[in-house]
Symmetry: D2
Subunit: 336 residues, 4 copies
């Protein structure tokens, strides 16, 4: 069984059904009936007026958001371990035309008001230094931790006070909400978030993510930038339909709950092997190469993360029953 990443899991049957349902000629690009329903559907979920744009990847979502919040000559505060810093091949710099990521600290890839202030306050306000224009956080984080609504709101207040835009990379937003049990609104716009990259691909989708603007005016230029980046697919309805399918009948949160539950079960087995508290669907565990080899010999696949550390990620399609054998195997390791 594979625990490499949720980003390569299968597509949920409901998503496939939606693709089939969209399989008839309609207006191209985002003029079709499905695409036009996005603003409303996301607005309902978040309980406020939003502009919602499908995009084919999370990197695209993140970087369009950053470009909407930060000029080419500005900077974006993010965590040193943020996906936008380490795993997007310089896409933020491409989309923003060279804005600079300003790196902050924090346990579990979580920024705090203090760690943001440490970055921002060190920048003299003159023309020689790249000035901060936005903050970007990831929830759930790159280490599977979550920001609570209160933590997000504290950053949101700081952002507002400093005139910074506020972006949330929500590649695993559903997993965070599933863990927190909060309203999506409380974790986003009510906490000061301006733009959310709402991930669906890791959560049962095929190739549609959704960029949600809580400040609708930011969407205007983004519509142009999306086209200019070659992201305005001509048969956009097949992307919109995926997003809509994920929102219907709470599929997005159900899928996230399933993945989280599987991770929680594994975490329990892993005990104090946990390097970061397991709060979503990712596990970072201390494990010797020999132990890792033992698990792999039993048919479990996962990434080595660092020396003596491994990462396991559970997916929407892995039930607790599915992962129980791995939990047992891990617990067995502990017995040694």
């Amino acid at each position: 069984m594979r625990f490499f990443s949720d980003n390569a899991a299968a597509v949920h049957p409901a998503v496939f059904q939606a693709l089939h349902a969209a399989d008839r000629l309609d207006t191209a690009y985002d003029g079709d009936a499905w695409s036009k329903r996005l603003d409303g559907a996301l607005g309902d979920l978040f309980g406020t007026e939003v502009r919602a744009l499908w995009v084919p990847s999370g990197t695209a979502a993140n970087c369009l958001a950053l470009a909407a919040l930060c000029p080419p000559y500005g900077g974006v505060v993010c965590h040193r371990d943020a996906h936008i810093q380490n795993d997007e091949a310089g896409a933020p710099e491409f989309y923003t035309h060279g804005a600079k990521l300003l790196l902050g600290e924090g346990d579990g890839a979580k920024l705090t008001p203090d760690s943001i202030r440490a970055v921002v306050d060190a920048i003299a306000n003159d023309v020689h230094r790249v000035q901060p224009h936005a903050v970007s956080i990831t929830n759930a984080t790159e280490y599977g931790r979550v920001y609570t609504p209160a933590e997000v709101a504290a950053i949101g207040e700081l952002a507002k006070a400093r005139g910074l835009g506020f972006h949330m990379d929500g590649a695993r937003f559903a997993n965070a909400v599933a863990t927190l049990g909060c309203a999506p609104a409380d974790l986003t716009w009510r906490a000061g978030v301006d733009v959310l990259s709402f991930g669906f691909v890791k959560n049962g989708g095929m190739n549609a993510e959704c960029l949600v603007f809580f400040r609708p005016e930011l969407a205007e230029a983004t519509l142009i930038r999306r086209k200019r980046a070659g992201l305005l697919l001509s048969k956009g309805r097949y992307l919109a339909a995926q997003v809509l399918a994920m929102l219907e009948d709470d599929l997005w949160i159900e899928n996230a709950r399933a993945a989280n539950a599987a991770a929680t079960l594994l975490a329990r087995a892993a005990g104090d092997r946990q390097i970061h508290a397991v709060e979503a669907n990712e596990l970072f565990l201390r494990m010797t190469p020999a132990e890792a080899a033992t698990l792999r010999a039993q048919g479990f696949d996962f990434y080595d993360w660092a020396e003596g550390e491994v990462r396991l990620v559970t997916s929407w399609d892995q039930s607790e029953a599915d992962v129980a054998p791995l939990a047992e195997a891990i617990a067995g390791l502990q017995g040694r």
Copy 2:
């Protein structure tokens, strides 16, 4: 019946089947079994070694190709009516970091060696002028005309002599090949083409195009640029599978033949209304507003192109029988 554009037609059943067949966990990005088969499958089709990369849109394909052929400070010769000039919202400038499109003339949106020379020879070879680095042609063109292998080869020779890269926008490459009945190789690398944007979305695909490098070394940096543009979808197998499905059993050429046949039937009915000879699946017809209204009243939808001109595009899923009523209606107009 709608004749707006082939870019919003339905997806071919075989493509859907391929999506289902790919619906199981595999390696993310382009490390999966489907993506890895692309080089071979396209290499077989073209009879030479190629590097083939899926991308989710034709604009992305074109602009990655241009970025591979032209530095930020260079220029790309294209037709004044080229899609890259008029319909991509400045995406070429975005991907190339500001390269300049150098506009040439020619009937039916076709460049010729002479019209290219007219552009290139007018540029003094000094540091104040943007120097040409590449030529880009569209086949079939934006006006539904085709370049023959000999015409492409003549441009290819000029490109080689002048040290220019050579890109072909093949959003409707299949339609051109279907018309010409030539080997794909004769229309591309044997004629000097370095990179082809091979379109599938207009021809029965959902959201996968293929960038084909006949000079494989150009693909290396493009792999990075694709990621950097947010185009490296994590579940890439669903794109690769589409391309492979289109290639299997000659689906790509069969679909194009169907669309072309429908267009030819309409062209015959349109007679000397044709503004551009109908050589693929697009018709540009002289038509008064009253005549257009007559057709629309009969349930036929299409775009007004210019004053007294309309455009009709046929799709892979429109049989001759399907379009016969429109042909009759057009012929009826002629009777007036």
Copy 3:
């Protein structure tokens, strides 16, 4: 005697004196006493509040202005023969991050409201087309013609009505004012101009031009862009001092008058050889290669412009007496 270009002439003695007067330690960049006087000095000249920034080249001035008026995804309407289109090696695209120049027509490199409308009205207002955000004109033009205050105002009105920023490339602004005898204000902000590239290098300066913002708020980001482009020289006082010297005692207009007078004298001798009416300090003349050779044999140097055409440019340091021999020689040609 050389008539290649005013852009390589000597430096006026008063400018050199000003450089010497500035030759003592002061604050770096633009914090010095000279730089701080620019806003006031230019504000006085134009009779309104301005922000004035020195820059070391006209290309830099133009492109910073365009970047202030047009986003990366926008377009700038300019004349087909504009310097920014043909002679700046793609610098506008570099500074704007890929904005597109939208080319208009007009005699003598002069745009008109009609020719601008022809460009702008042809652009469908959708996300696929690059939308116009600004107009840029050159006064005096690349062919030595001038726009009158009324002509500029007509373009200014159109720009305002269409929501377009308005830039004037004034590499030879002084020559235009000298010809027109108007107030600088009438040719700029009163006519709707937002930003002026005020040229001094061609007019007796060494390496300082001045960017004048009539909408001061546009200057803020430009201060950053200037630094980010490596244009914020550390000893800025040596640039500011040049600009101030040019403004003192009307040196800028006196120098321009001298150059214009020399050109007028030559124009009189050239008679109907003139391809463009001589309204500043440039002459474009019909001349056979043999005639050109005759002049060159007499020691007069100048550029061939096109087949059967030559260009001559006079400079601030060429008196009518200096150019009289050339006038005579040209008149002599006419006698043949």
Copy 4:
């Protein structure tokens, strides 16, 4: 007396003389007699074939160098405290179209092979991470330390082994050479440096720095980029003349020796206040606010650097006699 920075000092009389000597019409841009002598003059100094381009600022020199060595999607390893990282407002990102600075550690702003390896080895060689393409070091460093020829060569070897270009920011290269007493060649190309930003402005020049390519082929595209960035001043001879004047009669090294000598004298007085060993013309000293106030009350101006730290910079025009009163004043502080 002011010790803020050498970047605002006066211009050496020999430089002014050279400007006057260049004050006659010649070919524009870099076609003049002075500009054409640069390759030869710098080639003589470095004892190898070079291409040498004047530019008006150090930021411009650095960033053109980085653009020559690193593609838009690449990374440049530099010290965390490098000028290109902290003091150029994102100019490296602008010129390279978004390349990423990869930050390394080291005392006194000096990178070491180990600290470079620590950066480079942590980057997985896949398409998701920005790959390193170049190393940039500053000599003398931002903290007034110098790299010896052996230290540079060790980095040069590593760069070569890893396929990285190698740039040296030599804003105070002269000060480094003056301290080391080595041949300029030993500190640059013989140690593997590909491009040097050779600074003259801090050392007696007005507004000309020189970009020296030890791999001449890198200069070709840079000539275009220089124009495209608005840096190809039309009266380039006034820049070339400055560089030539600085090279003549060893003025560049004499000036640097003077500045270094003044700094050394102050360093001796400062004793163990030195935070970084004084190896060029900058001093970073521990000093309480009260002590700093005492000095300022005696007419000495300088920057506070951090809490309890000040920075003093000496210039080419400050003799040991000139700075002796400050030395005495500092020593006096120590007595308290």
